[in-house]
Subunit: 209 residues, 2 copies
DNA sequence: ATGGTTATGTAACAAATGTTACAGAAATAT
DNA sequence: ATATTTCTGTAACATTTGTTACATAACCAT
């Protein structure tokens, strides 16, 4: 795995690429693997190279709430702020698909602000994360579970680039923080409307272009 | 108004203070004044000096959802990311009390990263804003309206440093995005539990130490 | 094939909130 | 003082989601 070549798709500054080659570690995760749990200390920043990462809020009780996905070229703004302030992770991160990342040690992330490209990369990621979180708030504050469920299925479908999701009602219920019966009920209605096709342990999402 | 003297309570680097004196503008708002509306272009970053600012998500339909308060020494992380990416404001900001701020032009916020104190100030504000937003998500995802209502009243009470809030049920309902009747119902129950005392256009919050 | 486990379907009822409608009380304008 | 507006109380009913309980179907291990 040539790190420099990989990072090349995100950055172009040769000096920065040299630094990345020097400090970054390549790491790959299998579909479904947990990258980080709520409460873990954060010692590196992940740059997504390939695949995607599902980010979920998890509170002290273990209650979960789906937030958003990270895609190639992106990093997790919250892990940046967390490690800078030496706080534990507030979120859980799961490889949505087979996923490859570069791990950047915390120390470098500060230092690299001298590279304009790194600075604007981080800045853009902050912007992006904020608007993702605001979107989450919109969804849960302004709409019922049916819309949240559609959004959740579409996002996971998009992340996996397949309409057929291998998933149970219980898993969805957990990540949307409702009861399994509610999800089953809503899915039945959605099936009647031809928005999904239901199988055992899988759901075909029919709402994407 | 001596800007340098005012900023002195937030920063200590003399060089940075000189820059602030040169570029910052002092501005004051009366209680209830709107500092910025959703959709406005953002051309400056506000540093809160005195008072407090209530930050509210407002979507394209005008639907509102209370987010958090900004206090002296703080700035709005979202206005930073917004102006850097030339996006319109996603939030509305209202002076909770008589409030004084310093307006920092967008251009300087970038440049001042050369001052470590500014960099860590901004970084801390990012961290803070993220955890505030996560708290908002926790509240609306994991709890019913009664807890949200108590939280809302306590936050406003804290921001105004008074237990007696001058506020109508309708205003609360708007900012928590529920119907007035729901708020009235919940407040009656809260009054029975001696958590609040209700008057016309005011509420006394009894849950604070 | 059998039995156990997991996933889903269904129903009945409870609780929270939305929705509509109206009444009365308090404030404000004239 | 009177009329008008604003704020709050209340009720009845609808909708959404929570809660409990159980049945059935599909899968899995032996």
């Amino acid at each position: 795995m040539n790190i420099k070549l990989t990072a090349n798709s995100i950055f172009s500054d040769p000096a920065l690429l040299v630094e990345i080659e020097k400090y970054a570690r390549y790491k790959s995760f299998k579909k479904g693997e947990v990258l980080i749990n709520a409460g873990d200390a954060i010692v590196f920043i992940p740059l997504v190279i390939k695949g995607s990462i599902r980010v979920i809020r998890e509170d002290y009780d273990g209650a979960e709430s789906y937030l958003y996905h990270l895609y190639p070229g992106q990093t997790c703004a919250m892990s940046l702020t967390c490690c800078q302030s030496r706080k534990k992770s507030m979120i859980k991160a799961i490889a949505e698909d087979d996923t490859e990342i570069l791990q950047i040690p915390v120390a470098q992330t500060e230092d690299w602000f001298k590279y304009p490209e790194w600075k604007s990369y981080i800045s853009n990621n902050y912007t992006n994360s904020f608007s993702e979180l605001i979107q989450v708030i919109d969804l849960i504050a302004f709409s019922n579970m049916d819309k949240q469920l559609i959004h959740y299925l579409e996002e996971r479908s998009k992340a996996l680039r397949t309409r057929l999701l291998d998933i149970t009602h219980q898993e969805i219920a957990d990540e949307l923080h409702v009861h399994r019966e509610t999800i089953s009920r809503l899915l039945r209605v959605m099936e009647d409307k031809n928005l999904v096709r239901l199988g055992r342990t899988n759901i075909e999402v029919l709402t994407l272009k």
